[in-house]
Symmetry: C3
Subunit: 115 residues, 3 copies
C-alpha cells in the first residue's frame, strides 16, 4: 500500500487533523499486517508544519517520521517564503515541484489523499 | 465506473453541495447507461450528515441510499465523538479507518473525489 | 503525464494559487522534458474564473490556455447560474457533468489534483 498526502493549509487544526489521520492509518496498517509507504507533500501555506522553531506540532511530525512517514516540501514553496533548509525539521526532503511529484506518484500507482 | 467520495466538513452547504453532485452523477450515469458504484466515506466533522435526529439533510441521504449510494463512517470518528450506531441512519456502514478504506479503494482501481 | 485538476472555490486567492501551481507544473514539465496533458474542471462556485468580464484572472487563464491547459466547465454549473457560453473565455469547453468527467479521467489513468 502506497499513498501520498497533500496538505496546503497553514491552520493548526487542519494540520492536527492530518497528523491524527496518519496515526490512525499506521495503526490500521499494523492491525492488518499491511506494509505501507506514506509521503506527505507540504506546500502552499502548510510550510509552518515543518519548522523547527515555534512549531507546536513538531513533536508529532518527528514521531511520524520515526515511523517512516516522509515529509516532502516543495522548492517553489521554500523559494517563495525565503525559507532555509536549516529552519526545517532535519528529515524533511525537498522536491522541485509539489504538484509534479503528486502526479508522478499517482502515475506510479500510489493512492492520493487531499487534506 | 467506481468512485469513492471523501467528506470531512460538518457545514451544511458543503454537505448539500456534495449531495447535489451525487445526484448529478447518478443522473449522468443513467443518461449514458453507465453502471456505477458509489461510496461516501464520512469522517472528521462530517458525522452529523448521518444522524437520524436533527439532521436537515437526512431525507436526501436516504434518497441516495435508495439509489445504491453507500455511506460509510469511520469507527475512529464514532469513538472520538462517542456516537452510537443507533443514532445513525440505518443503512450506514462502518469501516475501521476511513483513510485506510480510501486508499484500499484507490488500489482496487476506484476513482477518488475529495469534497 | 496526464492530470485533471478540480476547482470549486470562487475565492480569488484559491484560484490564483491554482494558476500558480499550473504554471509551476508546466515549468517543471519543460525542465524534465515531460509531455503533459492538463485539464481543469471548474464547477461549484469557481465559474467566475472563466468569465470574460470583471475577471481579474482572465489574462492568466488565457496565458495557460495558450500553453495547452484546457479549462472545462460543467453544464450543471452553467444552468444553475444561468450563464451563457458567450460570457465565458472563448476556449472554455463544456462537459455535461463535472464529477462524471473527473471520474472518467481517473478511470483512463489520469492523475487527480483537488484544489
Amino acid at each position: 500500500m502506497q499513498v501520498v498526502f497533500q496538505i496546503t493549509s497553514g491552520e493548526s487544526d487542519v494540520q492536527l487533523s492530518m497528523l491524527g489521520q496518519l496515526h490512525n492509518l499506521l495503526q490500521q496498517a499494523v492491525a492488518t499486517q499491511t506494509r505501507i509507504a506514506v509521503e506527505v507533500v507540504v506546500h502552499g501555506h502548510a510550510w509552518n508544519l515543518l519548522l523547527i522553531d515555534g512549531n507546536p506540532l513538531s513533536e508529532k511530525v518527528l514521531s511520524l517520521q520515526e515511523r517512516a512517514v516522509k515529509f516532502l516540501i516543495c522548492r517553489n514553496t521554500l523559494n517563495g517564503r525565503q525559507l532555509q533548509t536549516s529552519q526545517l525539521l532535519p528529515l524533511t526532503e525537498i522536491v522541485p515541484a509539489g504538484i509534479f511529484h503528486l502526479i508522478s506518484r499517482q502515475e506510479q500507482g500510489w493512492a492520493y489523499i487531499r487534506c
